[in-house]
């Protein structure tokens, strides 16, 4: 089996700044103060093979969306390595439709941005319209759409851009059950074509029926990874246990877990990539570019 995605010790940290000005000082590595960081993902490692459907479960704030954004190439991991073989397409409902344009025009625009040619767009348009199934509204500006219609259109466009690896981030939770059914059917189709799918959802039944393996993310770490129904069972056991705690214990547990996600980084690990001691060559290059400007500027100034 071909390996499609490899996460190896992936960390994603967000710097916690008390003041806005600290951020900019850090950007130019002027401040030598240690940085407080929140680890949204903490040492994540796993492999995914071709044709697998991977479910991702977890509480709010456990890092599911951070992970889907990394998979979709929207953000980069802070540490660790990531290997993705193929084009990923991130399907999230909010994905920008232009409100002033009609649905029909949005189809063309978004397909274009996905890199489809004019011909491909022409071919895909009827089936997108058919899949979205929003009737004559397709020729109305998107700003007049209901939220359901928007997500239908957004989803319809995304699945027609023909990706190798799909990342579905809770995109199915907005539509009604008939639409969800239709989407799941489409997903089945993709599965049959041997596409790799990452599926983020809170619905245990969808997870069980649809995924091969499930990753349970828990406060930024992989708590469990394995066969779908088993992992989902474990996860449900946890939520049940958590729900039975009394309020103070719940808060205590949360605080403890969140506390583990914060670290003080005094080694400037995360900044390393910008902070690579600007080597002498680079400085000379920059000077070489600036010098002519200064020289010509002086010539203009003295009015030759």
């Amino acid at each position: 089996m071909m390996t499609k995605v490899i996460f190896k010790n992936v960390f994603k940290t967000f710097e916690l700044h008390a003041k806005k000005s600290e951020k900019i000082l850090n950007l130019f590595s002027l401040s030598k103060k240690p940085v407080k960081e929140f680890m949204a993902l903490k040492d994540i490692s796993f492999e995914v093979y071709e044709g697998e459907t991977i479910g991702i479960v977890g509480l709010n704030g456990s890092g599911k969306s951070t992970m889907s954004n990394i998979l979709g190439g929207v953000i980069q991991p802070t540490e660790g390595s990531l290997y993705v073989n193929g084009e990923t397409s991130l399907i999230a409902i909010s994905a920008g439709l232009n409100g002033a344009l009609t649905g029909f025009e949005n189809i063309e625009l978004k397909c274009m941005m996905h890199g489809l040619t004019k011909k491909q767009i022409k071919k895909a348009t009827p089936s997108i319209i058919d899949f979205a199934d929003i009737g004559d509204y397709i020729f109305q500006p998107v700003k007049d759409y209901s939220s359901g219609m928007k997500s239908r259109l957004g989803f319809a466009i995304s699945v027609h851009t023909n990706p190798d690896i799909l990342v579905i981030d809770e995109a199915l939770s907005v539509g009604d059950s008939t639409f969800t059914q239709k989407c799941l059917q489409k997903m089945e189709e993709f599965k049959k074509e041997g596409k790799t799918i990452f599926f983020i959802s809170h619905s245990a039944s969808q997870m069980r029926s649809f995924c091969d393996r499930v990753i349970w993310l828990h406060y930024g770490m992989v708590k469990d990874i394995g066969e779908a129904s088993k992992t989902v069972d474990n996860y449900q056991k946890f939520t049940k246990w958590f729900n039975n705690l009394n309020e103070t214990d719940k808060k205590k547990h949360k605080k403890e877990m969140l506390g583990k996600q914060v670290r003080i980084n005094d080694q400037f690990k995360s900044l390393k990539k910008y902070n690579k001691r600007t080597d002498v060559k680079e400085i000379i290059k920059n000077i070489l570019v600036i010098v002519p400007v200064v020289v010509m500027g002086i010539l203009v100034l003295i009015g030759i």
Binding site: A100, E105, H114, M296, G303
Partner: protein, 274 residues
């Protein structure tokens, strides 16, 4: 040394069709909600020109500049300015504004400033045509110098691209920059040779004035705007002032070099800075 410049330019070239189509969609989106539609593209500049005609041409009746009627002199500067100013401001803001939309797709971010520049160009070309008609009405004899307009358009686009590439990155990393840029552009209108003739300084303060005027000439927009006047009024060829031409291009290439460099360096992390 020029790897990042090459990469950025290659992206523009490879996706040139996409730039034009996205720009036209942007215009469509902008004007579709209006009853008069894209007619506004013509109406807006026409109204602006009419106002300046009224104020400077009729009421104030400025003195001719070197024999050119003041109004004609004025609009040759103003019309490029109507294009330059919004293009710089919107181009710089484009990455911050659109990154959320495009980051989920396989779409080169370096196209975003270009798309803004191109979508503003449609209006600019309409205004250029109006400008030439007005010049003819004022009795400017068409001369060979007009060909130079093409050269100065090249200068204009090269500068706008280089500058907005650089400043769109800065503006995404540091939001205050966008605010500062807006104020700066407002100021720039008054220190560029658009509303008044800068040679008045030299005339008034002689030697010190000459230095001040030369200082104002360091502004690359000075080169472009005076260049348009040289071409349309048939005053001079661009190679007659090689030092100034050299300065403009060296500066533009420098902006392009640093613009491409920091763009490539930060573009993967733009989302983290939103």
């Amino acid at each position: 040394m020029l790897n990042s410049v090459k990469q950025v330019l290659k992206e523009q070239l490879e996706h040139r069709n996409l730039i034009f189509r996205m720009a036209s969609f942007e215009l469509k989106g902008m004007y579709q909600i209006h009853y008069l539609g894209s007619f506004w593209q013509f109406l807006n500049p026409a109204i602006q020109v009419a106002i300046y005609w009224f104020v400077f041409g009729t009421i104030r009746g400025g003195a001719p500049v070197n024999g050119t009627p003041f109004f004609l002199w004025l609009i040759i500067g103003l019309i490029p300015w109507f294009f330059i100013s919004p293009s710089i401001i919107q181009g710089s803001n484009s990455v911050h504004q659109k990154i959320g939309l495009v980051s989920k797709m396989n779409f080169p971010v370096s196209l975003l400033p270009s798309i803004r520049i191109v979508s503003n160009s449609f209006q600019f070309f309409i205004m250029l045509i109006i400008l030439i008609v007005i010049a003819l009405v004022y009795g400017v004899e068409p001369s060979l110098y007009v060909i130079q307009v093409l050269y100065y358009l090249l200068c204009l686009y090269a500068f706008l691209f280089a500058f907005s590439l650089l400043s769109s990155t800065i503006s995404t990393l540091i939001r205050d920059y966008q605010m500062a840029l807006q104020s700066f552009m407002r100021m720039l209108l008054y220190v560029s040779p658009i509303l008044w003739d800068t040679s008045l300084i030299t005339a008034k303060f002689s030697e010190v004035g000459a230095v001040i005027e030369n200082f104002l000439r360091l502004n690359p927009l000075f080169y472009i705007i005076e260049g348009f006047r040289d071409s349309i009024l048939g005053r001079a060829w661009f190679y007659q002032d090689l030092v100034y031409t050299g300065y403009f291009w060296v500066l533009t290439l420098c902006l392009l070099y640093f613009g491409a460099k920091i763009h490539i360096k930060f573009r993967k992390d733009f989302m983290d800075y939103l």
